[in-house]
């Protein structure tokens, strides 16, 4: 079994959801064996999940069976995007909550999800390929990240080690299962036999707070905006004696808010651990140990156990002196195999061999703690979700028929256009297509989009503030 799940006491509860349903470790084992029995040959399956025990059961069942390779998606994925993914990758199966309409032969039905055979075709899948995740949840890119079984083992081991996870932990999971960090929470906690408290409830829903308190959550993991909500909900005045660990990932947290949470944890005997990661590396790659949470606020800290961070200069040479900026690289077993852009890519092997250039510009201090100063890649992380700038430019080009230049920070995307009449249309289009809150987009009108002689946009000439 994956993550050595067979060594966990099978009668233990693996997950409880906010609908009141529970999942035993034994049920994951049984579902995994059942899939092996149902599915004669390794095949691709689109797994459309909600944050409930069925989502965890089917995800872990498929991974453990090694027979179904899931592309894990939000059940609410926009229809046009889902269709594009279906056309591109042509899965043999779809597994989704019973309420989700689909045509095909019903193969199995458990935990509120239906496994349906939708095609007779079987595409070649590399033997190491474990699962797929979209690179961007919002802009509709069909580019996927190819994970292997070893990535799951490595993420489970590394993350449970540095968070010091244990069997008695009851982590509250609000991050979506189809999001790399949510999935890594599942891997790392199941590995130690913990009980995941999973919910799809909004943090502004009274039932969310009821669930957290009644189930005595011992840890909470969120992206920066999750902590903004906690702050607004007067989290600091709540009495939560069981909550022992707060962890953050998914982009840089505003400094004042980071300090507020770090101070609260220090004063209340809790741990505050900020982390850094990417989908390309099965989530977590670095963490700031709790002892440095305040002294080094804003730092992403050091590499996770069994991983290694380094910097290279523009010529590709290693940087060994502190406070020198360069591109951050990562080496470890959680580095994924590569991307898929079309069905035939699913047969590809490991293209990275445990090493990746992150596309983030960083430096390290005397203690070896890393600080991110910018990004070389063309994407932002708005609300913890990666948003491709080039994809957004493409959306504006296609839907509004004008050229634009997208730049920005993890707080706001700035879209430069030259036609003042199109300001509202561009904003509406981006909001509609990405489902990201309108306040995240600022449309600015300029006379001309700066370009070099070859016609390439000069983003460095556009202000990001």
């Amino acid at each position: 079994m994956i993550l050595n799940l067979q060594h966990i006491d099978q009668q233990r509860i693996a997950a409880i959801d906010s609908n009141g349903a529970t999942l035993k470790y034994a049920e994951i084992t049984q579902l995994s064996q059942h899939i092996t029995y149902l599915v004669p040959q390794r095949a691709l399956c689109f797994l459309l999940v909600e944050n409930n025990i069925g989502g965890i059961a089917w995800t872990m069942g498929m991974l453990s069976s090694r027979q179904l390779v899931p592309l894990i998606l939000n059940v609410k994925t926009e229809e046009a995007l889902l269709q594009q993914l279906l056309d591109t990758y042509q899965p043999t199966y779809i597994c989704a909550p019973a309420s989700f309409q689909k045509e095909g032969i019903l193969v199995d039905q458990q935990f509120g999800y239906q496994l349906t055979k939708v095609s007779e075709g079987i595409c070649p899948l590399h033997e190491e390929l474990s699962h797929l995740l979209p690179t961007s949840g919002s802009t509709g890119s069909p580019k996927l990240v190819r994970h292997k079984y070893d990535n799951i083992e490595a993420a489970g081991l590394n993350i449970s080690t540095f968070f010091e996870l244990k069997e008695t932990d009851r982590p509250l999971m609000v991050l979506p299962l189809y999001y790399t960090m949510g999935l890594s929470m599942v891997f790392s906690h199941l590995r130690v036999g913990a009980t995941i408290l999973i919910t799809g409830l909004s943090m502004t829903d009274p039932n969310f707070w009821k669930f957290l308190k009644e189930q005595r959550a011992t840890s909470f993991t969120g992206v920066p905006y999750s902590f903004q909500i906690l702050n607004l909900m007067r989290f600091f005045r709540m009495d939560l004696p069981h909550l022992e660990l707060l962890t953050q990932g998914g982009g840089k947290m505003p400094t004042d808010l980071n300090i507020k949470f770090a101070e609260y944890c220090r004063d209340n005997g809790k741990r505050w651990i900020a982390t850094y990661g990417q989908s390309e590396c099965t989530a977590r790659m670095a963490y700031l140990p709790a002892k440095w949470a305040l002294d080094k606020v804003g730092s992403i800290g050091i590499a996770v156990p069994n991983g290694e961070l380094s910097l290279i200069d523009t010529d590709g040479n290693p940087i060994t002196t502190p406070h020198t900026e360069g591109e951050m690289c990562y080496c470890g077993k959680n580095v994924t195999m590569g991307y898929a852009r079309q069905q035939s890519d699913l047969a590809l092997g490991d293209e990275r061999n445990g090493f990746i250039r992150t596309g983030d510009l960083a430096y390290f201090d005397e203690d070896g703690c890393y600080y991110i100063v910018g990004r070389m890649g063309r994407f932002l992380k708005l609300f913890g979700m990666r948003v491709g700038l080039d994809e957004c430019e493409q959306i504006v080009q296609t839907d509004c028929g004008i050229e634009c230049a997208c730049v920005g920070t993890d707080e706001k995307m700035i879209v430069y256009i030259t036609n003042a009449d199109k300001q509202n249309e561009v904003k509406d289009t981006l909001v509609q297509k990405t489902h990201i809150v309108a306040t995240s987009f600022q449309i600015r009108v300029i006379n001309e989009i700066p370009k070099n002689e070859a016609g390439k946009k000069l983003y460095s000439k556009l202000s990001i503030n």
Binding site: T204, N424, I436
Partner: protein, 79 residues
Amino acid sequence: MTNLEKYNAIFTEVFGATADQLGDNFSKETVSEWDSVHQLNIISLLEETFDLMLDPEDIMACTNYNAGKEILTKNGIEL
């Protein structure tokens, strides 16, 4: 700007909604984008625009256009 105009402007800012879309039917149930991020943004803008500090109960209750108005009234803002 009147308080109502300021209030409507918040929804325009958060959802890109036009004034004629706003009304009884503008809620978490009918607007697909309305999630906790959007709700948080509405709350932040209400607090900023009307110089308020809202309670968790108000934040949780702010799930439609009319509820937001009631929250303002409760906090002494006349619309």
